[in-house]
Assembly symmetry: C2
């Protein structure tokens, strides 16, 4: 018997292209895959990454500061906010258009500017490690440190890049509004780029120099929404253990206990598959009726039918 | 007897400052004035302008294109989208903070990325007249025309500026989601900068090189929401007729018929008070239970009590 599922889907920012023309093409195939699920009757909530996009916006705002002395450098949190509208605008229109092509008369797609609170004592702030923006010369890197306090790291002989913290999400500030929209049957795009990172200072939400991992933000969102499923999209159809070795194995199904054992064995690459499996575990272990899946965008529909993907459950 | 009113408030983009630090200060007094109304029990929906902000973002994206050949010029519609998140993020936090200071435990403020459809046959597209962005030399202006097809106009000896169309809003694309949020009691920031201007091409919403007047967008929003009141904020406490003349008169109350007569007499400056009065008339004439008011931000509360401002009604 068919059960309508509430599904949170996390899309990679890299899959959305590096420039606006690339993005306008990329959102079309994304919209088709998402509409496949909507057409089957599921309720879909969309989270997207923003790695290349927030870097591009950060570069643009820095370029403006160099040209116009009145414009101070723009904090990363503001760049994340702008990236949510930059991506959401294209993505919501591609979704709307694809829904109309398939004969849906109502197309209530909406992008919510979303803040996600992080803990200012998160250890990630002591060890900023996520590179953003473009490669710089040593002089330009030193200027950024002096002028803006940015932390710059040399990156494998290719030049210097700004590194920022990637703290864990603690609370989705606009959860109340997101719940209302999802309950009312809207198709919501939220927590873009992992959310605008903010820390609580008394009553004030202060932007943080950070980029939140969108997979962890998706897991938190899925828990808060009481979703049935979290689908984390990536560049492979299934998760592998012993990757590249003789005993390589592509996993169709793993329990939370299995996943934790694999994590402890160091089976998954940090900054790549590891956070995806960790986020999947966080959601799956929050309830017996909650399942996470890791797969390709184009395989999400087949994955929901149990035909492919890696499923993680209690 | 107190009647809780549903109020759409239109804030000027110029009142939000030219830079991020200016904006962070400006949103505080804005939030105080808005919270005065919320504290009295009214339901507030916020629209803001984006003149300086969309110009700044447009400049930043152009600066990036000059530095990075891979980055094509960013359409104005995308810059408007980014300005909605740039302003909404600050404004929603200032509102949230002020509400908490006043003891509100729930602070469901939310910014919706909003598209507003315009008619591609709107005569405004034949006569672009709204200047945006900074002043350019003749060579730079010619380059923009050649490279991007921008229409540039010489501006009173101060250099060249890009001019864009300012068409009338026809439909708020995300109205369905906005209605859900307002009905659920959220404090919604929407139609920022008059909305992202789009035209309908079959099933596709295509970004338009335009900036929609935020006062007209507010009037449309107020009608669609069935609001009781539209408050258009400006730099004067009341509307004047015979402004600067011996028989100058500050108007407290005018009927739609009065307002239309004054408009026909040329009493209001185009690009300044005229569109505000026109937008007020559009809302007020849509129902006997609908009132528009034009006043200062700091006088909105007193205006609601009937103590100041210019009220426009059927």
């Amino acid at each position: 018997m068919f059960k309508r599922k509430r599904i949170v889907i996390a899309l990679g920012g890299n899959a959305l292209g590096d420039t606006l023309p690339e993005q306008m093409i990329a959102v079309k195939s994304t919209a088709q895959a998402l509409c496949d699920l909507i057409e089957e009757g599921h309720q879909v909530v969309v989270v997207h990454g923003n790695g290349p996009q927030v870097g591009m916006i950060n570069n643009a705002m820095s370029a403006l500061s160099r040209e116009d002395a009145n414009q101070p450098n723009t904090p990363l949190s503001v760049c994340v906010a702008m990236s949510q509208a930059y991506i959401g605008y294209d993505l919501q229109n591609a979704l709307r258009e694809e829904l109309r092509k398939r004969g849906f008369m109502r197309t209530p797609v909406v992008t919510v500017v979303t803040q996600v609170r992080v803990d200012e004592n998160d250890p990630a702030f002591k060890n900023p490690s996520k590179p953003i923006g473009r490669f710089l010369t040593k002089e330009d890197a030193q200027f950024q440190t002096k002028a803006y306090g940015h932390i710059m790291k040399e990156d494998a002989g290719r030049g210097y890049r700004r590194v920022v913290a990637s703290p864990k999400p603690v609370e989705i500030v606009e959860m109340d509004a997101i719940n209302s929209l999802v309950d009312a049957g809207k198709i919501v795009i939220t927590c873009g780029g992992g959310g605008i990172p903010v820390v609580l200072k008394e009553d004030h939400l202060k932007g943080a120099s950070a980029v939140i991992d969108k997979d962890f933000a998706s897991a938190l969102l899925a828990r808060e929404l009481g979703a049935d499923m979290l689908i984390i999209l990536t560049a492979v159809e299934k998760v592998a253990v012993n990757f590249g070795k003789e005993n390589e194995e592509w996993i169709s199904d793993m329990s939370v206990a299995d996943a934790k054992r694999y994590i402890a064995e160091g089976q998954f690459a940090p900054g790549s598959m590891l956070p995806k499996v960790q986020a999947a575990v966080e959601f799956a272990e929050s309830g017996t009726d909650r399942t996470a899946m890791i797969t390709l965008l184009s395989k999400a529909k087949d994955g929901l039918k149990g035909e492919t993907g890696t499923v993680i459950h209690l």
